[in-house]
């Protein structure tokens, strides 16, 4: 295992040339009544052209805020993009004018939201909402836009697409609405699709269909996919690479096999151990003890330290950088600091291979 101590290390298995989206040290803060919430505080990751990355973490870890920041959809105020870079196709999205970012939104980066029930405008027809985006980003007239919209609906498996165009969202089921959202996202041939918990609000049976559809669309169009989820099962089926977030930071990155089968960070390990499974039947379910830290009283050292079963004195004062372990794998844990090699040996032994 190679270990180097490079704070800026974030490169997944991506060569420099084919990186589509490169987020570097992103910081999004919110000024609220009680003080400053650092919802995203130094997030770095990158996605290859056509690549698939999942941003995983529990509620409030900053994964959705990261996605909204990429789209520049954070309300400012109370939001504040305090620092970092979002390089997309070689341009920093944070430096674009409002008009330039509007061309990217919906055109080159499309977003699918969590709540299909409320994400569509209830007083506009499906067709009106689909063609609005098409007319904004493509050189076509109303008739052409309607044709493109109909094709997009057919592409996402909506039966009777022509009739659906004239229907209102309330006439469609939840799964159907999410298909409309996906059609909206793919209608302008984006280079990147951001899917923010696209299946969370759906029926379990529909979840799989929608996930398959997103994967299918992604492979067919060659768009890159940034999937935001808290569901590790979804991650295993859908993406190539994973970035695990905790308290506004990326704490671990790696390929989906590496992260799920050989988790490096104690938080990821805790997450995986807390998934119920056949093999653990009869044993008490292991949990991550304690609570997500209060955003106003973040621990001074490692943000996971108060809940970490492997923590020692050093963790309370010093926070590790994202330590690159080669092959796109990295971990934000002092255990992977070469100074504490002895401890790492002890950490690796009792747990072994979860596989």
């Amino acid at each position: 295992m190679t270990t180097d101590l490079d704070p800026g290390a974030h490169a997944l298995r991506a060569g420099v040339g084919d990186v589509l989206l490169d987020v570097r040290d992103l910081r999004t803060h919110f000024k609220v009544m009680d003080g400053l919430v650092k919802a995203v505080d130094g997030v770095s990751f990158s996605i290859r052209r056509g690549g698939r990355l999942a941003l995983v973490g529990e509620s409030g870890c900053g994964k959705s805020v990261t996605a909204l920041t990429i789209m520049r959809l954070i309300d400012q105020p109370p939001g504040l993009i305090a620092g970092g870079e979002i390089m997309f196709n070689g341009r920093d999205l944070l430096k674009l004018s409002d008009q330039e970012i509007r061309k990217i939104r919906g055109g080159q980066i499309a977003m699918i939201f969590q709540e299909p029930m409320t994400s569509l405008n209830p007083v506009l027809t499906v067709g009106a909402q689909l063609t609005e985006a098409i007319l904004l980003h493509q050189e076509t007239d109303k008739k052409g836009a309607r044709r493109i919209a109909q094709t997009a609906l057919e592409d996402v498996g909506v039966a009777d697409a022509k009739r659906r165009l004239d229907q209102y969202p309330h006439e469609l089921s939840g799964g159907m609405r999410q298909r409309v959202m996906i059609a909206m996202a793919l209608s302008c041939n984006p280079a990147l699709i951001i899917a923010d918990e696209p299946t969370t609000a759906l029926d379990v049976t529909i979840q799989r269909q929608i996930l398959e559809l997103i994967k299918d669309i992604q492979t067919r169009t060659g768009a890159a996919l940034l999937l935001i989820t808290h569901d590790l099962g979804v991650v295993a089926e859908t993406v190539d690479d994973v970035a695990v977030m905790y308290a506004g930071r990326v704490v671990e990155t790696g390929s989906v096999e590496e992260v799920l089968l050989h988790p490096r960070h104690p938080y990821t390990r805790g997450l995986l151990e807390s998934i119920p499974s056949q093999g653990k039947r009869g044993k008490p379910l292991s949990v991550i003890k304690g609570m997500v830290p209060n955003p106003f009283r973040m621990p001074p050292g490692c943000k996971f330290q108060p809940r970490c079963p492997y923590q020692w004195g050093e963790c309370a004062t010093g926070e590790a950088p994202l330590i690159s372990l080669g092959e796109g794998i990295s971990s934000r844990c002092l255990l992977h600091d070469p100074r504490f090699r002895d401890r790492l040996a002890a950490y690796d032994t009792p747990m072994g291979d979860p596989a």
């Binding site: 919906g106 007083v123 609005e132």
Partner: protein
């Protein structure tokens, strides 16, 4: 939809019946009656008052008075006539002179008296038919109320949207302060101050009335219509000059409610997921606000405005009184102070009808603007 409207229209009948009963009983419980206006007059004898009561049918039992006013009973009085009647007894009260039930339309042989037949009786002070008293006033009120309503709804929409978009910002604070000040102003004081300043000190605008009495004939008369046809600009300008102060008063006092309502509806809409979706599509901010958020925020606003429509006909009592505007509000006050019971009841029943119809209209409009609502 049509089935719904028909059902609602049928439902209006009992509502109006009970409101007419309520209006009748409230006026009965009030002390005095139409004859009270003679009480202070030493020249009017008791015999004359009794004759007045008999002439107006006030000596009849109260249920019969109501029955005749509403138009179910005929207007014949005196035991002799009742005895002569072929049907005989009390039942003959409900039979029209043509021998069919009195409540039927007069075309079918029913009576021609009472509210059911569009006859609200005669003013007990000047003998004019109540219908023409109300008819003469309703146009004046509709002009004042209509102009004020259009102005304040336009301003309320504009200020509400601006306030919502700049929530807690400078513009929002200014609009909020303006709203609360306007809302807290007593109408009579504001009206008097405007008269004092613009009609008194500055002498820019007339202090009251609806037309210049030296130049323009009485509103509603044939002479007025003729002058309007001959010199429309002059007459309309004259009308506009008289409208300015009362409209300012009404707008200033009434804008707060709607402006805050629009603001709240807009803030609610702007926080919805579909607004974020629209932004994520790359829609320009102005279009997000008008095309997506306002389009949704308008749904409750439209209902609210429909419910405010009766104001066009019932008038603003205080404003009309202060600016001597010859509208319904002032007609109402005059009727009250002169014990003109017939006019009073006429105004109240017409008001009840308009309020009920405005409620129906609100429901219908809501179904038109919101695709999620449909009435089976």
């Amino acid at each position: 939809m049509i089935g719904f409207i028909v059902r609602r229209l049928i439902g209006i009948i009992p509502t109006l019946f009970f409101s007419s009963l309520l209006i009748y009983s409230i006026l009965l419980t009030a002390p005095g009656g139409p004859e009270v206006r003679f009480a202070q007059n030493p020249k009017v004898t008791t015999a004359q008052i009794d004759a007045f009561r008999a002439r107006w049918g006030l000596d009849q039992p109260i249920p019969i008075q109501y029955c005749r006013w509403i138009g179910v009973c005929n207007t014949r009085t005196g035991t002799k006539q009742l005895a002569d009647d072929p049907v005989g007894g009390l039942a003959s009260l409900f039979i029209s002179p043509q021998g069919v039930p009195n409540f039927l339309p007069s075309g079918l042989g029913g009576g021609d008296n009472g509210v059911l037949h569009g006859d609200f009786g005669y003013s007990s002070t000047n003998g004019q038919p109540v219908v023409s008293v109300i008819g003469g006033r309703i146009a004046a009120t509709a002009i004042l109320g209509g102009v004020a309503l259009v102005v304040w709804i336009a301003l309320a929409l504009f200020s509400g949207v601006i306030a919502a978009v700049n929530r807690y910002g400078k513009a929002d604070t200014i609009i909020t302060i303006f709203n609360y000040v306007g809302f807290s102003f007593p109408t009579f004081w504001l009206g008097l101050m405007l008269i004092l300043l613009f009609a008194g000190t500055l002498n820019w605008l007339p202090s009251g009335g609806m037309w210049d009495v030296r130049e323009v004939p009485i509103f509603g008369t044939d002479e007025y219509t003729q002058l309007l046809r001959e010199r429309p600009v002059f007459v309309l300008l004259d009308l506009a000059r008289h409208l300015v102060l009362p409209v300012i008063t009404l707008v200033f006092v009434n804008i707060a409610g709607d402006s805050r309502f629009v603001r709240a509806a807009m803030i609610d809409a702007l926080g919805q997921d579909y607004v974020r979706t629209a932004r994520a599509k790359g829609v320009a901010e102005r279009r997000v606000i008008v095309g997506h958020a306002l389009r949704n925020a308008l749904l409750p606003v439209v209902t609210n405005v429909a419910l405010e429509l009766p104001f066009l006909f019932t008038g603003a009592i205080v404003t009309e009184t202060i600016f001597s505007w010859p509208g319904m509000g002032r007609a109402y006050i005059e009727a009250v102070s002169e014990y003109d019971y017939t006019v009073l009841m006429g105004i109240l029943v017409v008001t009840a009808l308009i309020v009920v119809l405005a409620n129906l209209l609100a429901d219908i409009v809501y179904a038109i603007v919101d695709p999620r609502i449909s009435y089976g």
